[in-house]
Each structure stands twice: as C-alpha cells, then as structure tokens.
Amino acid sequence: MSLDEFFVTGDPLILASQIAIGLTMIGLIALVTYLKRWKWLWSEWFTTVDHKKIGIMYILAGVLMFFRGGVDGLMMKAQTSRPNLEFLDAQHYDEIFTTHGVIMILFMAMPMLIGIMNVVIPLQIGARDVAFPKLNALSFWLFFVAAMLFNVSFVIGGSPDAGWTSYFPLAGKEFTPGVGNNYYAIALQIAGIGTLATGINFIVTIVKMRAPGMTWMKMPMFTWTSLVTSIIIVAAFPIFTVALAYMTLDRLFGTHFFTVAAGGDPMLWLNLFWLWGHPEVYIVVLPAFGMFSEVIATFARKNLYGYKSMVFSVVGIAFLSMLVWVHHFYTMGNSASVNTVFSLTTMMIAIPTGVKIFNWLFTLRKGRIEFSNAMLWSLAFIPCFTIGGVTGVMLAMAAADYQYHNTMFLVAHFHYVLIPGVVFAVFAGLYYWWPKMFGFKLSEKIGKWHFWLFVIGFNLTFMPMFFVGLDGMSRRMYTYSEGLGWEGWLGFSAVGSIVMAAGFAALCYNIYWSFRYAPRDIGNDPWNARTLEWATATPAPHYNFAKIPEVTRLDPYWDMKKKGETGLKKSDLKPVHMPSNSWTPIFLGVAFGVVGFFLVFEWFTLAIISSIGIIIGLVANSFDYDEGYHIPVEELEEEERAWRGDLK
C-alpha cells in the first residue's frame, strides 16, 4: 500500500483538516509540556478510577464528538440546500452521512448519557463508587480509543460510506472494497465491549450498592431508568457483537455470512442489526426520561406524579423494545401476517410512552414551576417529543410505512425523538448536575440564548423534512433536480441548521464564560433538590459521602431537609476505603486501539504482534493485588468541616 493510498489525499477540505489536526495535536502537546501538566494529567485523569472523573471525561469526549457530528450535519444541509449543488460529491456525502449517524448515536449520545450516569448514579444511590471502578475506567478507555479510531478514518484510509446501518450486501467487500467499512466493523466492536462492561457494572452497582433503606420502590427515577437501560444493554449489545464479528469475518477473512455470492444472507444482517438497533434507541432515550423526571420534580417543587406507573412504563418499554425490530423493514417482502403482528407490538410501545407524558404533565400541575435552564429543556422536550412519538405511531402502521419508509419523513421522525429525547436531556442534565461536577452553575443568561436558538433551530431544521418526505424525497440523496418542489423545504431546513449551530456555539461560550466568571459560593444544594446526590458537598468530594446516608422514603434528601436531619455527627465518621488508581485500563484501551488499527488495514502480522500488548495488560491486571487505601477520619473531618461548618 502506497502512502497516498494510506492518507486520504487530493481533497482540499480534507487536506486542510489533516493540517489542522496535526497542528492541534502539536499545540496540545506543547501546551501541556509548557504548563508542566503531564504528571497531573496522568495521575488525576488518565489513571483515575473515580466515577465522577470518568463521567467528566465521557462528557468531554461526547461534546467533542457532538461538534464533529454537527459539522457533518451542517455540511449535508449545505449540500442539499439548493438543487444540483456541487459542494460535496456523492462519495463525500455518503461518507459524511455515515459518520454523522455513527458518531451521533454511538460516540455522542452514548458517552453523554453514560457520562452523566457515571457522575450521578453512585451519588444518587448513596454509594462511594460503582461496583467495579477499574472496569469502569476500562469501559471509558475502550470507548475513547474506538471513537478516535473511527474519527481517524477520514484522514487515514477513508471513511466508511454505507450508512450507520451499513446494510449488506452494500457494506460487504463485494460492493465496498476499501478499508472504510473495516473502521466501522472494528471501531464499533471495541466501543461495544466497553458499553457491555458498563451495562454489567451499573446493574451490579444499582442492585447491590444502594444506601440502606433504599428499596426498589424508593429508588429515584433516574436510577430506575439507568438500571433498565443497563439491562437492555446487556440483552442487546451481544447481538451487535455477533453481527459485527460476522461482518469482520466477511470483510477481512472472506467468509460469506452476508454476501450475495456463495449463499450468504444479507437479510440476516438486517435482522441482527435491528435486533440490537431498536433496543439501542431505547438505551439512549430511557436514561433521558429519567433525567427529565428528576429535573421536572425538582423545579415543579413536587414529587414525581404516578411514580409506580412510571416504573412499570419503563419496564414495559424495555420489554416491548425487544419485540419490534421488524418495523425497520416492513418493506422487505414479509408476509402480511408478520407485518400485522409487528405493527401491533410497535404501536403498543406508544402506550407506556403516553402514560409517561401524562405523568410528567401532572407532576407540573399544582406545582410552582421555576424556569431554570434545566427546566426549560425538560419542558421543551414534552411538545417536541410528542411530535416525534405520534409520527412514530404513523410509521408503525406497516401499510402506511410503505409510503414513508426511507424517506425524509422517517429522518424527521427519528430526529424528533432523538434530539428532544436525548440531546435536550443531556442539556438539561448538564445544567442541572454541572454544579455537582464543577462547583459552579452555568450562566442562566447565556443559557437562555443556547435554549432558544437551539430549540427554534431544531424545529426549523426538521419540521420541513416531514413534508419533503411526503413529497417523495428519499433519505441519503446527495443531490436532486430542480422542479420537484423540494428546494423550498430544504432551503428552509438548511437555515434552521445554522440557527441550531448558533445554539451549540452559545453552549460552548457559556461553558467558557462560567468557568471564568460564575460565582463559586453556591452551597451544596443550589437547586433545592430532592435526591441524595445533593446531600453531600458540591462538587462532590472524592469519597462521595463521609457517612452513607439512610433512606426512609422517596426523595430522601427533601425529607431530610424538612426534618432538619442533614447534619453529620463526628462520632459517625469512620475511615473510608477507596480504590487506587490504575494504569491498566488506559494501557489496555490503547492496546486495543493499536490492534484495531492494524486489523482495519488487514496487516495481520502487525496485529498479531501488537496483540501481545493486550495480553500484557490483562495479565498485569490479574496480578494487581492493590487493595486500595483508607482515608483517615481526620481528613474526612477536615473536608466536611470545610463546607458544613461545625459537625455535631
């Protein structure tokens, strides 16, 4: 392979990005060296096993990926804003919508949500960390390395270009011979291992480590939804693992699981993909439902309405989500009876979803609604998501779907569920839990800009897509001719995407501004909240709770505040056992990345040699007898006094 096959050459846009990436890397390394921060980075971040820091790293990576995926989106909108534009050619457009989809779902939505789960869940259930802190760090590094591997494709070797769904036979070697789609198969496999480990970790954490007294029906809603999400992860991700393994075998070793030739079965890929893919959309939306529940209860100053039916709805949604995958290919020539059954199961999902919407509305009723930024996002979610939901029901009706399938109508639907359902939730969660992470609030004033620009831009961008879809425009078209009546809708939509991007810029500015100027003296409970994460210092100390709280009812912290039981007795302090930092997770992550890279290029000798790195990491990990360390009572006392004043 010659060098100019290795690096993607010849396109000025890509050359510019290659140079920019190179310069940024050099700049960052120089900066860290100049500030003498290498040791700090290594010992405070790269080797950390603290769930809060891991959460922050997830969120940071998610924001970066949001930026990358967003630029992809803007480029697509620019290209289709007028008929017959030649800003991007077909190949680039195909690569961009593929990376957009993969990055937004797997490298933006997932890490953002898992990041917030990481920060919040142990605090919310009154635990000192997750069940397996080191495994948690490994999950993060596998995700991060996979994200980097996937992103490097556009400058080295070429990006995948068969869509985020990568349908066979198109995605096979027969029709996509380059290395691009190998990146898809390998990077997602690595990320998937990390996600699966996260699922197991959070199931064990939530099942085993809740504070005394926190029975199932006293768990906060976000904890419930995170538990159910983790269960779906464990149920669904192995399917994807298998599908990707078959894909890898087909592409790298010439097997025929999904090929046209030699009796392969491409329909098997569609089934496996959606057996994972549909649950996946609920994996990302359920934690979001939980966050909205917390935020709405806090700022309506009321407990969550219909808590029990909320729990049952979440469990019901999870169960049904495994039974609907065929709705993604009603048009594959299934028998009428198959399509009828899957129409029914799909529509049934709307029932528990509707129950949740009404419970949120009735939580608001009789409340005293404060329009903080976190609350604004949660409120905007309700009407926007309703539009996404009802169009989902329209798509669920198989016969009608014959007219919507693979059109812009479908694209509009899933953006109307994913953006309000996930992105709004992430924003709400960030505004709400930001103080818990960093000890200051994001600016409410700049946040209003962020909110209005983004919400208006979102509706302008995606509402027209419903109509252009009903007018016969299919998805993933890089260009279209004049006179079809589409350019009005698409031009409108392109303008909307700029407004939305301005909203994102406002968020970035808000983060910068607040880091510099926001007041730091906000106390431990800046929102007058209800759940345990606010019962400790803000930002949370590394040991989370000096004394594990005891729970007697839902919304325990609200109750404690009412009864004036938030204080801490000196006699209750005991030394706290903490896990030590570890180098093996980051080492293993990088080792997986190196092997993955060689596999992408099908350099098998190098891949085998470098897999020694993985073995070293695993062995070193197994022989790690570090028992952690104890924080002495004196240190606890000092830290607690610092924010509580005197102890009892």
Partner: protein
C-alpha cells in the same frame, strides 16, 4: 415565561394546518393516482386525524399547566402538595391510548392484507407481469409476455393491474412509485412481489429509496401510464425498431454506473434471472474501488462516470431522454 408558551402555541398553530394542507396540495403521498395508493392515503389521513387530536390535547394541557402553575413573585409562599398519583386518572390515560391503538390497528391490518393483492375491480383481467431488476445504479424492466426490455423507464397500461416480480443484481434497492403505491425491496437471489394500478394515463416518478452507493441519488425513473391502445402501439413500435439485447451488452449494462434510457427487443431473462442466483458472476468489486482525489466528478447533465473507462454511459439507444429532472410527478 410568556415567551415560552407563546412559542409552543405558534408551533402548534403552524404545524397542524401544514399537515392538513398536505391533503389539498400536491405532496405526492396525498395525491394518489391508483387504487392501491389511494387506500394507503386513506389510511394515512385516518391516522393523521388521531395524531392531530393527540397533539392538540397534549399541547393544550401543556400550555395551560405551564402557564397556570408558573412561579410568580406573588406565590412565593405557595407550597406544592405531595401527590402520589391517582388510580382513576392513570387508568384513563392508559385506556385511551389502548383504544387509539385498537382503532388504528384495525384499518392498518385490513390495508396490509389488501395491498398484497390485485385491487378490487381489477380482477377480471390478468395482471401484466413486469420483472424488475435493480442494479447499480439503474432499473431494468422486462416484459416477458411481450418479450421486450427497457432500462430506466417503465411504460404500463392504465387501468390494469401490474404485477411486479422484483429482484436485484447486487445491492438491495427499494422500488417506489409513490403516486401508485407503497415501496418494496429488491434483493438478489430472491423475488418480491408487488401489485400496482394506475387509474388513468399520466407520468409518474419512480425511485430507489434504499441507499446503495455512489449513484444512488440518480436511481430515478419515469413511469408512463398509457391507454391500453397506446401501450400496445408502443410495444409494437419497440418490436419493430429496437435491437435485441446480447449477453455481452447486458454484462456491460450491469457494470456500476449511471446510464440513460435503453430499449431492447428481448429480455435478459432468456439467460439469467437474478432471483435464482448467478448474480456473482457479474459482480466485480474492483469497479467499486474509490480513488479519492483524482475522482471524476459528475458531468453537467448529472450523469456520473462509472469508474471503468469503458463508456457505459454512451450505450444509449433511440430513447435518449435523460432520466433526471423531467420525470415530473405532477405531470
């Protein structure tokens, strides 16, 4: 937060009439030109009524509640009550969606079964059989009874059921003529079946909706529904003027690329039916290799050069109209 509620209210006002306006204007899905498309449109309109009611109820409740219970300086001391929930209310908003699902499910099931068959009133005549073979990035239509074949355009008689027997020579495509009915996939090594009817003569747009690589956006074709006598005349003319298709030429056509219209006086079914295997002998993955950079960009007419320099683009026949742009679906 007057602004917030107002914003949402406008959104509601804006979106609903737009949805409903679709029924009168020319959005292609709301402008059916045959009995199958019509039953789909009826189902869609029926569902939109329910959806509009749901959206209306939720938006109204939302607007009223958010407005009424907003924090104001004068209700500073108001302490919201603790509410567990209400069994009656929760049962109500569980049962209502159940009823809506039932109401939607019945016509959905009926329509699903209905569109799999020749529509009512057209059974007296045998359907015209057309074999559809999709390839990268063109549509091949074979008329076995007439023993003729077209590429990238489809002529059919109006007022008669057409039975499409569909397959693919490689990647998966989706065959969709929105004015006449719903879509269905075409897949190599298997056959899918679709019935469509056009009520009256006219020209409609057909396209692929399932992404299948670089030339995907160009996989459009014109559907010309003609009166039976015009259709017969056209068949006659083809039989008199078109050349026969040879195996070599066919292999040429199947190479990845975007081409114009073609017409032949026989069908490729004489030697291969992709529904029953054999496609792999035509697949040459080298032709799909991407060379970034020195890549040929599209020609001005929107045609895309295939990677092979053998000028598959030039193999046009007497019907040389471009497949793009002029396939106007509103006639």
């Amino acid at each position: 937060m007057l602004k917030f509620k107002k914003g949402m209210y406008y959104l509601l006002l804006l979106s609903m009439p737009l949805f409903l306006a679709g029924c009168e204007s020319k959005l292609v899905v709301f402008d059916p030109q045959g009995p199958i498309a019509r039953s789909l449109t009826d189902l869609i309109l029926f569902s939109i009524i329910f959806m509009a009611i749901i959206v209306l109820v939720v938006f109204l409740l939302f607007g009223v509640i958010v407005w009424k219970y907003r924090a104001r300086p004068d209700n500073k001391d108001y302490e919201p009550p603790e509410e567990k929930g209400s069994h009656v209310l929760e049962i109500i908003w569980f049962v209502i969606p159940v009823l809506i699902v039932i109401a939607l499910m019945i016509p959905t099931a009926i329509t699903i079964y209905e569109v799999e068959d020749i529509p009512e009133g057209y059974e007296d005549q045998d359907p015209l059989v057309v074999h559809v073979t999709s390839a990268d990035w063109k549509w091949i239509f074979s008329y076995p009874e007439q023993d003729i074949e077209t590429v990238n355009y489809l002529n059919i008689p109006a007022n008669r059921a057409i039975q499409f027997k569909m397959t693919s020579a490689g990647t998966m495509q989706s065959f969709w003529i929105p004015s006449l009915g719903g879509q269905k996939y075409t897949m190599a090594n298997m056959q899918t079946n679709l019935f469509l009817v056009a009520d009256k003569p006219g020209s409609y747009m057909g396209r692929n909706t399932s992404f299948n690589g670089k030339g995907y956006a160009h996989m459009e074709f014109e559907v010309l529904a003609q009166s039976p006598s015009d259709f017969d005349e056209w068949v006659e003319e083809v039989k008199n003027t078109a050349d026969p298709l040879e195996e070599e030429k066919y292999a040429e056509i199947l190479k990845p690329g975007v081409i114009g219209r073609m017409t032949f006086n026989n069908t490729h079914l004489d030697w291969i039916d992709h529904a029953h295997g054999g496609s792999d002998q035509y697949i040459d993955s080298e032709l799909y290799r991407i060379t970034h950079g020195d890549e040929e960009h599209e020609e001005t007419d929107g045609h895309e050069d295939s990677e092979n320099k053998e000028d598959t683009n030039e193999v046009e026949t007497e019907e040389e109209a471009d497949v793009h742009g002029d396939s106007g679906h509103d006639q």
